[in-house]
């Protein structure tokens, strides 16, 4: 039965299986085990970002597309539900409408972008997505009447979701289901074709697969799941704004998560996201003490200043691309024959 749930994509490494189980347990039992609001916040964030990173892995790891517009779809989801809930009665109807609208917009946009990707080289495509994402971010902050501008939108959620635990389990379960759905997709014939396209585009064309169609589909799927992740995050925070969804820093974060975790594995995105979010919250404290201990020395305190945590993750990222192209998951799998 586990095979079916995981769609045949076994962890293939004891350590990895252990890590994943631990992660699942931690997330499932978070409200019960960890006291206080902060751990629950972190856990919810992990759920959302695992999903977001996994949707990005679909593009980067499985289809081989580098897009800098992924946070745009994340934002579309968040804003969709935020706008609906601010203007309508804060009920499930509004959520449904907002989500549907967000998914529709995400689908349309990603379709257009996907069509474009066929004509141009990867580098060209990456640059264009960067420009489009910037444009969207500008729109969001300028159309303040609609989107709340720089301050974003705060809104009420339906009664049931106002209890933190209930909201948490909502986010957790939807993220889990969507993650498993992604697993199913990448392990289906569709997913296999994606992998073959990534490996050798010419050959796939020769074998009759219209790579254009597959890449566009992958693009759309990734965008829709990202939008759904955005919906979840907005419902948890009861807020959507440019800094929680559209910031380029978040795009970089997702990129790091997927690459460090392991591209093209899905589990890599999960591990990467978990490590990243936890580190973001708790590592900074560790760095704070380290930085304090190094006081008086030249430069070193600055290098270990908690705000510089991205420096170390960046270095890890660069090293991963060079030496561990398969990321943490790849390394773990390589060790267990």
């Amino acid at each position: 039965m586990i095979e079916t749930i995981l769609s045949g994509d076994r962890p293939r490494s004891r350590v990895l299986a252990g890590l994943l189980l631990a992660l699942l347990a931690a997330l499932a039992l978070a409200p019960l085990v960890f006291p206080g609001t902060r751990p629950l916040d972190v856990a919810a964030k992990v759920c959302v970002f695992v999903l977001l990173a996994a949707s990005y892995d679909l593009l980067l790891g499985y289809t081989g597309i580098v897009s800098f517009a992924h946070t745009m779809f994340f934002g579309i989801g968040g804003y969709g539900v935020a706008i609906a809930l601010s203007r309508m009665e804060p009920g499930w109807g509004a959520i449904a409408l907002g989500t549907a609208a967000a998914v529709a917009v995400a689908l349309a946009l990603s379709f257009v972008i996907g069509l474009f990707s066929l004509r141009v080289k990867a580098i060209f495509f990456a640059m264009i997505t960067l420009a489009v994402a910037s444009f969207f971010a500008i729109l969001a902050s300028q159309l303040s009447g609609f989107t709340g501008g720089e301050d974003g939108l705060t809104f009420k959620v339906p009664e049931i979701l106002r209890a933190r635990r209930v909201a948490y389990y909502f986010v957790f379960s939807v993220s889990l289901v969507l993650f498993l759905a992604l697993l199913r997709i990448v392990n289906s014939p569709f997913g296999r074709v994606l992998l073959s396209i990534r490996e050798n585009e010419f050959r796939s064309e020769a074998l009759g697969y219209r790579t254009v169609i597959y890449r566009t589909l992958a693009n759309c799927l990734g965008a829709v799941v990202a939008a759904l992740a955005g919906v979840l995050y907005a419902l948890w925070l009861r807020y959507t704004g440019p800094n929680t969804t559209l910031d380029f820093a978040i795009m970089i974060d997702i990129l790091l998560m997927v690459v460090i975790g392991g591209m093209g594995t899905m589990y890599g995105a999960a591990i990467g996201a978990a490590i990243f979010v936890v580190a973001q919250t708790y590592l900074q404290e560790a760095m704070q003490s380290l930085s304090g201990a190094l006081k008086g020395m030249p430069l070193l305190p600055e290098l270990f200043h908690p705000d510089r945590w991205l420096l170390w993750l960046g270095i890890l990222f660069v090293l991963s691309v060079y030496y561990f192209p398969r990321g943490i998951v790849g390394q773990l799998r390589a060790r267990t024959p």
Partner: protein
């Protein structure tokens, strides 16, 4: 450069005249135009290296903004040390501060470029996916290092005394610094044209951008040339960053990253690998940014992206695509 394609220049003319119609006031228009040209030329300095590097070796350095940022920071540090000459009355004395600052900016940026090419870029020649990832990662790391070294606050970079303020001609106020930037920008462009069209190295670069393989098949070690072009492009970006810092008078560590979006737009509009195209596109982008910034500030940032879309619909390969076989 025998036969020049006139159509894109007509586009520039349309933009200029269209703006005149919309702005209506000729002196405002002139101020905006000079600002636009100055900004455009500075963008050209920053973008030219990137487009050549891509055209020549098919390498897209997403960390190019780093050289801009470094140039700005180094220039700021040097200018601070040389506050004396910078604040003096005479232009000559000012140059005693500005020239070292700018040269230092170029040197450090160039050095950084050398290091980057060797360590970050060279291992991933030909692998576009890894290039994008690695250069983006390099950018993150370097940005953090800059903040660790210089601090996270905004940096101030004042213009030298003699170049502050403006010439008053009738109704118009023509900012001295902007005029100076235009002069410097044009001078660099002219120098590049001479290099590319009148020297053997320039010949190799132009041929290499068109068909690198054929140049190698003719016996030239074009990889060595590539390093030189990469370093030169980085140095130019550093120069652009230093001058841009003085243009804006203050900046943060994000300055390079912010310019990158505009630079990408410019090199896409201009045609990847084409210096002439980059020049034309930079001017267009600078002008559009300033005109729209005056007419409708809200859509100013987005207007250039729209411009890019429009140009691509007209000429998908850019305004002056490099003739590839």
């Amino acid at each position: 450069m025998s036969r020049i394609d006139w159509k894109p220049l007509l586009l520039a003319l349309v933009v200029l005249l269209g703006a005149l119609l919309l702005v209506q006031n000729p002196s405002t228009w002139l101020t905006l135009t000079i600002a636009g040209l100055a900004m455009g030329l500075l963008i050209f300095l920053m973008a030219s290296g990137l487009t050549l590097v891509f055209g020549l070796m098919d390498v897209m350095n997403f960390a190019h903004g780093l050289f801009i940022t470094t140039g700005a920071y180094v220039a700021a540090s040097v200018m601070r040390r040389l506050a004396g000459p910078a604040e003096a009355e005479s232009l000559l004395a000012n140059l005693g501060a500005v020239v070292p600052a700018v040269l230092a900016a170029m040197a450090v940026a160039g050095l950084l470029g050398f290091f980057f090419e060797r360590v970050i870029v060279r291992p991933v020649y030909g692998q576009h996916l890894k290039q994008i990832l690695i250069t983006t990662g390099g950018m993150i790391v370097a940005e953090q290092l800059i903040v660790a070294f210089w601090g996270p606050e905004q940096m101030a970079l004042e213009r030298p005394r003699a170049l502050r303020g403006a010439f008053i001609v009738g109704e118009m106020a023509l900012e001295k610094y902007r005029l100076a930037a235009v002069v410097v920008g044009l001078a660099v462009f002219a120098a590049m044209l001479v290099l590319l069209n009148r020297t053997r190295i320039g010949l190799l670069i132009r041929a290499g951008v068109e068909n690198r393989e054929m140049v190698e098949a003719m016996g030239y070690r074009i990889r060595r040339l590539f390093v030189a072009v990469f370093v030169a492009g980085s140095a130019l970006a550093g120069l652009g960053g230093a001058l841009w810092g003085m243009y804006e008078r203050n900046f943060t560590v994000q300055v390079g990253a912010h310019m990158m979006v505009l630079i990408f737009i410019v090199i896409i509009i201009g045609g990847l690998g084409s210096v002439g195209g980059c020049f034309a596109a930079s001017l267009l982008v600078g002008l559009v940014a300033n005109y729209v910034g005056y007419l409708s500030p809200k859509i100013a940032l987005g207007s250039n992206i729209l411009l890019m879309v429009l140009v691509l619909l007209w000429r998908p390969q850019g305004l002056y695509p490099v003739g590839r076989q």
